[in-house]
Amino acid sequence: MSYQLEPGTPLAEYYAQTTPRVGTVLSRRNLGTLDAATIGRYAMTIGATDPTHYDDAAARAAGYPDVVAPPNLLAAIVEWGVGTPEAELGPDGTPPDGDMPLGDHDLGLRVMGAGEEMELIDAATAGTDLILEVRLEALAPKHTRSGPCVFVTTSNTFMTGEGKALNRNRRTVVLRNPLPEAR
């Protein structure tokens, strides 16, 4: 039997609001074109020095059509395009309707990453038009050492503009109630 969230808590409200969306496609949208600057900056930030991330000639010599992204770049980007205006971000900075359903900002839930499974079907290279489809796969209420929480799992498929899958991810985050002093 699954863990029962305490009625009246923000987590219980989130769970009730979000459960009907389990199994549905939350969004399918065009992300634009993956560019070489994003790939190079991501590689620089994580300390990856392979020239195939920065130098198109090195990438072509290695068999790619252009500079190639480090393996988890697509999964790591939170907002594509210009992003959310600051006034519309939640108190914790999260966007109101991102790829992960985090509930209404009024609930004040705390979120952290919990894990991921990635299938890297093909390399993501500069110049690729990207489409992302996000499906809400599961909500799992649990009680952990730090108290009640809900594990939220989405499946994210990144595709080229022609619909060829590049990367399939199952991503899980953990949501917790706000701290008492924060309410």
Partner: protein, 136 residues
Amino acid sequence: MTISYQVGDTLPPLKHTATPFQLFRYSAVTWNPHRIHIDESHARQEGHPGLALHSHLRAALALRSVTEGLGRNWRVTNVAYRLRKPVYAPAELAYSARVTAVDGDHMTLELIEQHPGGEVGFEGTVCVTRTPAATS
């Protein structure tokens, strides 16, 4: 020269110091506005002792230990990881990858993130396949 790997082989560990500055740059490049990574006073309001490392940054560092340890003759095809505990900047981290299965041109490795006190913060598995250029 093609290097053969056997079960139990360990790739050179990746040692890394994660700094608040790196967290800022990682938030910027991934356009991630979550304040627990960049705003220490907010992170403390949420009960964290400091700025929390992004889960994807930790995964990226773990994957570097594989891609840099194996070189371009191998390509990552699958990754799975689970975060056992959060990490806060600044943090001295060590990522290791150990071969757990070899099947022709495919290998599976165990990934571990270790903290200075010896705690494991992150564990996972990664599957790699030899690239066509390496097999020809």
